[in-house]
Amino acid sequence: MDKVLIIDDSDFDRKMIRKAIASKHSNLEFTELSSGHAITDLIIQETPKIAIVDIRMPGMDGFEVLDAIRSIPELSDLPVLMVSGSEQAEDRDMATAHGANGYFVKPPSVADYFSLGRSIYDQYLCCSNGGATSTSC
């Protein structure tokens, strides 16, 4: 079962991201963390297929979390999508600069959320090998 790691300080947003990605697929397992500090050895050993990280979080922001993930050998190739509450050009640039695999703004409606969830599933989760090259499946 593919594992999805969601790191966001907002319970509501974690729930929505989970609902959106899982809307049509039951073969996924979600690990939800409210902070990057909560990444443990156990989570690392679970080898998630993708991580979705909120940018603005108290304490350790999303970019610091991304840097931390990239410094863990087991997770260095993990596809990481950065999420922002509102469109910010600098956030998009920073995400690219920090080596994120993607950036998206939290959608304003349920329909948009589900559409985004499908897109994430198709791109990163539907194929066993995953990653950005899986768009053809």
């Binding site: 907002s10 509501f12 509450g85 509102s86 910010q88 304003p108 409606s109 349920v110 959320y113």
Partner: protein
């Protein structure tokens, strides 16, 4: 006297003569005769007393009286009246004494130096004028705050004003004649290159902003004009006028930092407002999706209101963010159909107006202004709400909005029959938290009118409280008319 000597003396232009102690001429040359305007025979044997007026005679006597056996010779320039005109004569007179120091007579050589004296006087006068001019020029140059340099094409500072010297912590005289490389080291290279560009092209450079670092001072910023010109035969020169803009630069940096903070604040605020808004909107959507079938139609209708409210709020946040980040000039304003906008605002506030038993009269003619639809909606909603909020309880609320054109503006007046505002609070009401005192008991944030003014100001317009004879208050908003091409 030998004849050849006589001939030489007669052809000499100087006035050469001899006279005895009674001033009787014993020898005169042709020039002397010409001086008196008489024949030689009419002078020789005659006393000078009979041939000169008393004024000239007095001068000559005074000149002669200075001669003594110890100093028998004297030279002086005497003003005289010669043939009716003022003239100057250069006199060299020698008193002739015998072996016993008894005065026997005088020998005099004089020359008309009127022309030389006039030229010298003119020269002195011009020099004086020049000196005055230089003092004035120096005073002007030293008074202006600009740094002024005057250099040649060899990078030598020929002149500079006090401000320029002060900026280097040096005295004017210590800098004049110096090479800029000796004063500024490597930094002089950039100045020199710019100078050479001006010399080569013959075209001035204006408004150049450059760092300015004298050896002994902190780095400063100057805005410089470099103007070339040719100074006679001395070759090309350059006038460099620099204005110290260090403080301006510092203020600019502070302003940038403030704007950055404001921008960060706006982004953060926007983000923090978007999050709960998204939560409200999506939760309502989910609730309708999951429970809608079980709810009565009336309850389902509320979901539409929630969605509209969320959408409106989201639009407002976007607009505010855009305005917070952009300078008024940079805002891309479009045409706003104000007639439609007012109708929409009136609809939104319908229930509040109805509960106050009020009427709202709107203009029906087309009004198109340049602006942001959402933000202007906010302004007029605020003004209408204020009219309702600050109503006079003794009469039914009546609000009237009128509009007329005035040059490039639409002037929109919003008048009511409410409790009115004391004219002494006319400005204060637009301050942040600057509510008019009589209304302190009525609930309000004190932000509304401040926000209105900020929005209108960002549109390049004005908003003010107008004094009227009628009860109530009247606000006047001036907004740019939309360009005819935008009215669509």
């Amino acid at each position: 006297m030998p004849a050849y000597l006589n001939s030489i003396l007669d052809t000499h232009p100087d006035i050469i003569c001899r006279f005895d102690t009674d001033l009787v001429f014993t020898y005169v040359n042709d020039a002397t005769a010409a001086f008196f305007g008489r024949d030689k025979d009419d002078i020789l044997g005659f006393s000078m007393v009979s041939r000169l007026d008393s004024e000239n005679l007095d001068r000559i006597r005074q000149h002669l009286s200075s001669l003594t056996p110890e100093t028998p010779s004297a030279t002086s320039i005497q003003p005289m009246i010669h043939l009716g005109d003022a003239a100057y004569f250069h006199w060299t007179t020698v008193a002739l004494y015998d072996e016993s120091n008894v005065l026997k007579g005088y020998q005099s050589v004089s020359r008309n130096v009127t022309r030389e004296m006039t030229l010298q006087y003119q020269l002195e006068s011009q020099k004086k004028e020049l000196d005055t001019l230089q003092v004035e020029l120096r005073s002007v140059l030293d008074t202006v705050p600009a740094l002024i340099w005057y250099k040649d094409d060899k990078n030598k500072i020929l002149r500079l004003n006090k401000a320029a010297a002060d900026s280097m912590g040096m005295a004017v005289e210590d800098v004049e004649g110096q090479n800029t490389y000796d004063l500024f080291g490597e930094a002089a290279k950039d100045y020199h290159l710019a100078d050479l560009k001006v010399f080569d092209s013959g075209e001035p450079i204006r408004g150049m902003i450059e760092p300015f670092t004298p050896d002994s001072g902190e780095q400063r910023w100057v805005q410089t004009d470099k103007i070339p010109f040719v100074d006679g035969e001395d070759g090309p020169r350059i006038l460099v006028v620099s204005t110290d803009i260090t403080e301006l630069k510092e203020q600019e940096a502070i302003l940038k930092s403030i704007n950055k903070n404001l921008d960060d604040f706006a982004s953060l605020t926007s983000h923090d407002l978007q999050a709960p808004l998204r939560k409200i909107g999506i939760s309502a959507e989910l609730m309708q999706m999951e429970l809608g079938d079980k709810l009565p139609d009336e309850a389902n209708a509320y979901f539409v209101d929630i969605a509209q409210g969320v959408s409106h709020m989201r639009q407002l946040i976007k607009s505010f963010l855009k305005f917070m980040r952009a300078s008024p000039e940079g805002v891309d304003l479009g045409a706003v159909d104000l007639t439609a906008l007012l109708r929409r605002v009136a609809d939104d506030g319908k229930s509040a107006l109805e509960s106050a038993n009020g009427t709202l009269i709107l203009p029906k003619h087309p009004i198109h202004v340049r602006g942001d639809d959402a933000l202007l909606g906010q302004v007029f909603a605020n003004l209408i709400n204020n009219a309702i909020k600050y109503r006079n309880e003794n009469r039914a609320v009546k609000i009237e909005i009128k509009a007329k054109t005035e040059k490039q503006y639409w002037v929109i007046s919003i008048s009511d029959n409410g409790s009115g505002i004391d004219p002494s609070f006319a400005d204060q009401v637009f301050d942040l938290f600057g509510r008019a005192k009589p209304h302190m008991d009525i609930e309000g944030s004190g932000i509304g009118l401040a926000l209105c003014r900020r929005i209108i100001t960002l549109h390049g317009g004005t908003i003010e409280l107008i004094e009227t004879q009628k009860p109530g208050s009247c606000f006047q908003v001036k907004l740019f008319r939309a360009r005819s091409s935008e009215n669509g």
